[in-house]
Amino acid sequence: MEPVSSNFEIEVVNQPAALAPAMEQLSCWLDGRQVAPAAVYLAKLALEELVTNCIKFAYDDEAEHLIQLQIEITPGGMTLVVEDDGHPFNPLEQAEPDLDRPIEERPIGGLGLHLLRNLSDRMEYAWKGGRNRVTLHKKATA
């Protein structure tokens, strides 16, 4: 991890086309940091899964909304926060996918949050000021 603190912040419009350029920007920023591969993976996964969920499910109107992603990397690890002003949605209350069923019979869905829960060291959710806030932590040694 970085010898000193380093921060990244981006706002993504709730349009599917906004995801690829945001991912490109995040990847470029991560490439210039001393970040463990597992943390790089988690950061990209959070952008893809949480922002995609917001774009698909968080809004009923046709208005433009901004989804915020903030990353702080310190010598101790990485903290990543995603905030949106969509419907209240607690990812920690979502059911785990049934992975005991044969692959051919498994329902689609729920894998993104399952991956985030398992690849992070801690995942938190808060609803505050009319906004969803999901926080992921990854220790430097993990």
Binding site: A38, E48, L111, L115
Partner: protein, 120 residues
């Protein structure tokens, strides 16, 4: 995201996926990957050694590929994923499709008779 196909001598299709298998990566290669998973008794190797990242969208594509191959009575293996991609596959319940080793060893595993096969 790039997808290249190698038709191997022993009727095995080798698909090499290079780059990030995220939302846009899947859109770029989905049709090509699934096209090569069809037909009777397909034997498919998907080489993930150059795949840097797989999101749930990418996992769904791999699951679809496994299902199509299984419906045709064939077999599919995911070859040599990186540590990070391998972790994501394992967490997603796809570790049974994983294979680490050489292409020739993977082909031998694909061609091995499985339970339910009828001897010719």
């Amino acid at each position: 995201m790039d997808c290249s196909l190698v038709e191997m001598d022993d009727n095995v299709r080798l698909l090499r996926l290079a780059g990030d298998l995220d939302h846009s990566g899947v859109l770029a290669i989905e049709a090509k990957v699934l096209d090569h998973c069809g037909g009777p008794r397909p034997l498919v190797l998907i080489d993930l050694s150059e795949t840097r990242f797989v999101s749930s969208r990418g996992i769904h594509l791999l699951l679809q590929a496994v299902r199509i191959v299984a419906e045709g009575g064939g077999c599919l293996l995911l070859l040599n994923p990186s540590a990070s991609v391998g972790s994501a596959l394992e967490i997603s319940g796809l570790s049974s499709q994983g294979f680490r080793g050489s292409e020739s060893d993977a082909v031998a595993t694909l061609r091995r008779p499985r339970q339910g096969d009828v001897p010719s």
